[in-house]
Amino acid sequence: MGKKGGNLGLAFAAALVALPFVPLVLWAVAGEWRFPDLLPTAWSPRGVAHLVEPGGGVLGATLNSLLIGLATAAASVAVGLPAGMAIGGYEWRFKGLVIFFVLLPILVPPLASTMGVHVTFIRLGLADTVFGVFLVHLVPTVPYTALILAGVFSERTGELEEAARTLGASAWQAFLRVTLPGVLPGVAVAGLFAFLISWGQYVLTLLIGGGSVVTLPMLLFSAASGNDPVITSALALAFALPAVLALVLALRVLKPGERAGGFVGPGKVS
């Protein structure tokens, strides 16, 4: 196919990707938009104002989402970094089996396991708490951070660490001064991923949070089940914002060759 055809195809694909955002953006700022008008006939800041209204609930829910997302990202990296180091950096027996076990929560929907732990969470007083929600968010995020970081470690040869050790650095110093700075971009990508996965969680929060832990997707879902497209669209755009920001960031920071951000399961970020 010629270059021109490729550009046309790309423009078409871009239009399809952008399509669901067209009604979201229009509705978010619409004042009046009756059927069958193709565009709103009046504009209003009501949708956007709802997002920042004190006592409107959106700010609190956003704060919950941020708090849980950041905690989940930090904990997943802390847990996934050593696992990624073991999987990517060393050869050992039963590695295939361990990788299968780590992959399982990505492949098998976490609905079943979460209903399973629910009773125990109730008994331990973790149900309906932010901490409990944070714990179940680790189920889909830890496999991702572990495997992303395994990919990062498998590309390292360990020669620099050896050189550092030869020059008299302790194992810990070599890790802190040589290994860690080397894998930092990968750690950032893994953390960002974990944050986005947690940010997008709906059903796990619904089950364990039991309606007491209100995050942004909870509000979006109840708005979407109702009949106010203005509020729904404003919430949807706010909910999509971190994903868009992350993408912009990734495009600016990562060089085109780096594919760490390309490691994504189907729609796991939600």
């Binding site: 196919m1 055809g5 550009n7 195809g9 694909a13 871009a14 990707v17 669901p20 955002f21 067209v22 009604p23 979201l24 059927f35 008008d37 193709l38 050593p82 696992a83 073991a86 076990f101 780590v102 399982l104 929560p105 492949l107 098998v108 929907p109 976490p110 609905l111 079943a112 396991s113 209903m115 399973g116 732990v117 125990t120 680790l138 830890v142 496999p143 194992a171 997008g200 709906y202 059903v203 979006l220 879902f221 979407a224 669209s233 949807a236 755009l237 909910f239 999509a240 994903a243 992350a246 993408l247 495009l251 951000g261 390309g262 994504v264 399961g265 189907p266 729609g267 970020v269 939600s270």
Partner: protein, 284 residues
């Protein structure tokens, strides 16, 4: 330092998290599906829940619907992804990166809401149809939400998953396929011949692998059908959730039995995927 001990220590935190919260939860779900729920005084182990759902028409309606939604979504997404990857493989740079990455990153709920506002009876599609004089009022436009054919759900999945499969296809196209294609071209093969005899055999293992992942995901996913699906029949994860939320706690084993079946089916697909992926790794 003992190599094995070091590996074990490095793996422990992740294995504990997944072992307790995921595997532990699955085991509890399985035990509860056998009717063992001491919290509500049920302690006899039976297969009643399985017997009940396997003889239940509602369950089969849900199973058929689930297979239909995930099957059609996966099929449509796969075909479109291969077409898109082939058409766009030479375009690189930021625009195509955004085009492929954005739907993967955007949460499902956002996509579902946006698509609902397009294909709903007062959505952009209906307004456009009204402008063209095809419909007079919203009710004239076909119902594509909460509908029999789950159009809204499928469209959402297709929008989300096409870029994922396309990225996988693009990765395999960048490798050996383009060199082989050049050779075939030199030898005088036409465009269709090049695709069917050269490109397709090279990319098909990764296409199948990616499609399996999408199938497993859409089979077990909850929120899009929960939002855009009709109330009967529901897809299996929504059915399990509804049984789980039932005020009658004796419905709990039923919910768990459905969950166990979902886990078994997606687990089998996952095992298939891993076998394929391993073979791919060996070949590459």
């Amino acid at each position: 330092m003992g190599g094995r001990l070091k590996i074990a220590l490095l793996l422990t935190p992740a294995l504990v998290v997944i072992g307790v919260l995921f595997a532990g939860g699955l085991v509890v779900a399985f035990v509860q599906s056998l009717g063992y729920v001491p919290a509500i005084g049920m302690t006899d182990l039976t297969l009643n829940a399985y017997r009940e759902i396997l003889s239940d028409e509602d369950f089969f309606d849900s199973l058929v619907l689930t297979l239909y939604v995930s099957g059609v979504s996966t099929g449509v997404a796969t075909v479109l992804a291969v077409v898109a990857a082939l058409a766009l493989r030479r375009s690189s740079g930021r625009v195509s990166a955004v085009v492929f990455q954005l739907p993967i990153t955007i949460p499902h709920l956002v996509a579902a809401v946006g698509i609902a506002l397009i294909v709903g009876q007062t959505g952009l599609g209906a307004r456009l149809a009204a402008l063209l004089g095809l419909v007079g009022e919203p009710g004239d436009f076909p119902a594509l939400l909460y509908d029999e054919y789950s159009v809204g759900i499928i469209l959402t999945y297709v929008w989300k998953e096409v870029p994922f499969i396309a990225l996988v296809v693009l990765a395999s196209l960048r490798g050996v396929a383009s060199e082989l294609e050049d050779v075939a071209r030199t030898l005088g093969a036409g465009a269709w011949q090049r695709f069917w005899y050269v490109v397709f055999p090279v990319i098909s293992p990764s296409v199948v692998a990616a499609s399996l992942l999408v199938f497993a995901f859409t089979f077990g996913a909850f929120e899009v059908p929960y939002l855009l699906g009709k109330s009967y029949p529901t897809i299996l994860p929504v059915m399990a959730y509804n049984e789980y939320r039932d005020i009658d706690l004796s419905a709990r084993p039923t919910a768990m039995a459905i969950n166990v079946l979902i886990a078994l089916i997606t687990g089998a697909v996952a095992a298939l995927y891993l076998r394929l992926a391993r073979n791919l790794g060996r070949r590459g």
